[in-house]
């Protein structure tokens, strides 16, 4: 029982961030129907930029966050304008290869500037220490991280629901041509989607940097989040959140109970085996849109 609760708590903590990263994929997929692998690279860039501002330049925390978000927005605009917009209407291979290329480009940039060393925020970002609730010991950074993730996601969902731009994004999700005819600037919506998505990914990067250490390996979390997006369905925020949390819990339980059967590091294996199972059983995920095609 104790192990079970502990596993669920740990799983929720890492699952919250998977959910956040999954949401950053969903934002772009929803409006542009492109799966932006580059968000895995944004995690790395976000964590390193924030570290640079906060620790190296020792700026105040709010200014550091603003600078990081601004850089994320700038990168988003560049990616969208330079590499994604010319690909509108191209077959699906082109955006996949380009976003993968951008992922490696961002990784290369991070390696160039920060030499791939693993850094940490120390006390500068979220408070360290542990809360003791009964027999559970909750690391504060994970609890704060989980709360921040859920807040950001809630903010996004309400943005989609209650603002005019959000409405436009939902219309674009339905059909690009119809949206264009209704007077929505589809290209502008694409740009907004990239900016929001990169901002969310960067926040995910900051939190991950706090928990796992700032480093190049953070993009593995971005790849794990792919399993979450797929499980939830590529177009659904709710699905991404549920699936992200589920992946986190499944991962922890698999490590706890199946670690005996499978030697070595299975943190990457579990989500991808799960992904294969989803693809075999329910390929469009829990809440994904099953597109019916015809000739």
């Amino acid at each position: 029982m104790e192990d079970l609760l502990k596993g669920i708590m740990l799983g929720l903590a890492s699952g919250g961030i998977y959910a956040l990263v999954a949401v950053s994929y969903v934002i772009i997929y929803k409006s542009t129907r492109i799966f932006a692998f580059s968000q895995a690279g944004m995690l790395v860039i976000g964590s390193y930029t924030f570290w640079q501002c906060l620790v190296v330049w020792s700026l105040p925390i709010w200014i550091s966050i603003l600078i990081t978000l601004a850089i994320a927005a700038a990168i988003a605009i560049i990616i969208e304008r330079v590499s994604m917009r010319p690909l509108i209407g191209q077959p699906i291979l082109a955006p996949i290869v380009v976003t993968l290329g951008v992922m490696l480009f961002l990784r290369g940039i991070a390696l160039l500037f920060w030499h791939g060393e693993v850094e940490g925020y120390g006390e500068a970002f979220l408070p360290l220490g542990v809360w003791h609730v009964g027999f559970l010991s909750l690391p504060k950074i994970q609890v704060y991280g989980f709360i921040i993730c859920m807040l950001v996601i809630a903010l996004l969902i309400s943005f989609y629901k209650y603002t005019r731009t959000g409405l436009g994004m939902r219309v674009v999700h339905e059909d690009h041509l119809v949206a264009q005819n209704l007077g929505i600037n589809v290209k502008r919506i694409f740009q907004y989607s990239w900016i929001f998505s990169c901002a969310v990914a960067v926040i995910g990067g900051m939190l991950l940097g706090n928990i796992q250490g700032v480093g190049l390996d953070l993009d593995a979390n971005g790849l794990i989040a792919i399993a979450a997006v797929l499980f939830g369905g590529l177009e659904s925020f709710g699905g991404a959140v549920i699936a992200g949390l589920a992946i986190g819990i499944i991962q922890i339980f698999a490590i706890q109970y199946l670690g005996v059967l499978f030697p070595g590091e299975i943190t990457m294996l579990v989500p991808f085996v799960f992904l294969l199972l989803i693809l075999l059983i329910k390929p469009y995920g829990l809440f994904g849109l099953v597109r019916i095609e015809r000739l």
């Binding site: 082109a94 996949i96 290869v97 160039l112 990457m268 000739l295």
Partner: protein, 355 residues
């Protein structure tokens, strides 16, 4: 039918067999044979350094041709191609070490084992396509790397394995690099010939039909799930053979040689070379591996300039420059080098006239 300006004037198809010929004119046949003879002859002229580059070119041309069959012909996206190349290398090493097969017996197995694994990971293709299938191959990469890393009794884990070249056959000692190059080149020519031929068969046309419109293909009576799985199988067979002959040159294999990054470069440089043609696959492989060679050549210069930072700098520069090349080519010339080459050939043929 459009007028094909890729041919000299006066060459017309008067029956279907002519339209299906690989070499439409005697001159082309002669040039191709001369080129292959030149590739063989080069082994006796150049030194071992050039030979090593040529062997890498050959091995990756085979692998890239396999990806061309999956992606260029059948239109499926594989993000695990480097891993399948690794499976080929490891199959070779495992059968040599644990079963005692020699190179010749292990070579077909090094193709068949990745083929079977590739088809297994292609099974989700029964229900899905496009992006979803790319995810399945991404999962294949992680499962394969995990299996190699942790199935220690068979694969030696992260320590890597030794594999052996064939010994003396018909008086030729394959331990000498130039003779091994001739072996690799022969395998490459045979594999590429089969790939070229595949596009003319029923299966090859089925691949292209599935790529262009899978629903239409299904309506026409093609079993698309079957076709997709077979495309993965054949492509992974090529990857395995590529890995086996490439690993044979180094006589050693390590799991760190095939990362997700390599799989992405495979896909990226396939597009740089040009989708849907064998020439494009070879061009992509040659460009990719030339860049690799160039980046090792400039490492001493960056070391002199940057001192201790050189290791990071060269790794980072290769990431940045390769990805820029892939992105720029996709944005500006999505049909790749192959298309440029066709344009050059055409303008030469039509010389005084613009079109």
């Amino acid at each position: 039918m459009t007028i094909n300006v890729d041919r000299p004037c006066g060459t017309f198809d008067s029956n279907y067999y002519q339209a299906m010929e690989i070499f439409r004119t005697p001159l082309r046949k002669f040039l191709m044979i001369a080129f292959i003879v030149l590739l063989y002859a080069i082994a006796f002229i150049v030194d071992d350094y050039i030979i090593s580059i040529l062997i890498v070119f050959c091995a990756f041309s085979i692998g890239m041709t396999g990806l061309q069959i999956i992606t260029g012909y059948a239109g499926q996206i594989s993000l695990g191609h480097a891993a399948f190349m690794g499976v080929g290398m490891y199959t070779m090493a495992v059968f040599q070490e644990h079963v005692g097969f020699n190179f010749w017996l292990a070579l077909p197995l090094a193709g068949l084992v990745p083929m079977i694994i590739g088809m297994l990971f292609g099974v989700p293709a029964v229900r899905i396509k496009g992006l979803y299938l790319a995810f399945a191959s991404l999962a294949a990469h992680f499962v394969i790397v995990y299996a190699i890393n942790n199935w220690r009794s068979v694969t030696n884990g992260t320590d890597g394995m030794y594999l052996h070249r064939p010994g003396v056959l018909l008086g030729i000692d394959f331990m000498i690099d130039k003779y091994y190059y001739i072996l690799v080149l022969t395998v490459t020519v045979v594999m590429i010939y089969f790939a070229k031929n595949l596009s003319r068969t029923r299966l090859g046309r089925a691949f292209v039909a599935v790529r262009d419109n899978d629903i239409a293909a299904e309506v026409m009576g093609i079993n698309i799930a079957h076709t997709k799985v077979l495309a993965f199988g054949i492509g992974c067979f090529y990857a395995g053979i590529a890995g086996a002959v490439g690993g044979g040159y180094y006589e050693y294999v390590n799991v760190e040689w095939f990362t997700l990054t390599d799989s992405i470069w495979y896909l990226g440089f396939l597009v740089v070379g040009g989708l849907g043609s064998i020439f494009g696959a070879i061009a992509g492989a040659v460009v990719w591996k030339s860049l690799d060679e160039l980046s090792t050549l400039v490492t001493p210069i960056t070391e002199a300039l940057l001192g201790g930072m050189a290791f990071y700098a060269s790794a980072a520069f290769s990431l940045v420059i390769y990805s820029l090349i892939v992105i720029v080519v996709l944005v500006l010339e999505p049909r790749g080098i192959n298309h440029r080459w066709q344009i050059i050939k055409r303008s030469y043929r039509l010389h005084p006239f613009p079109y």
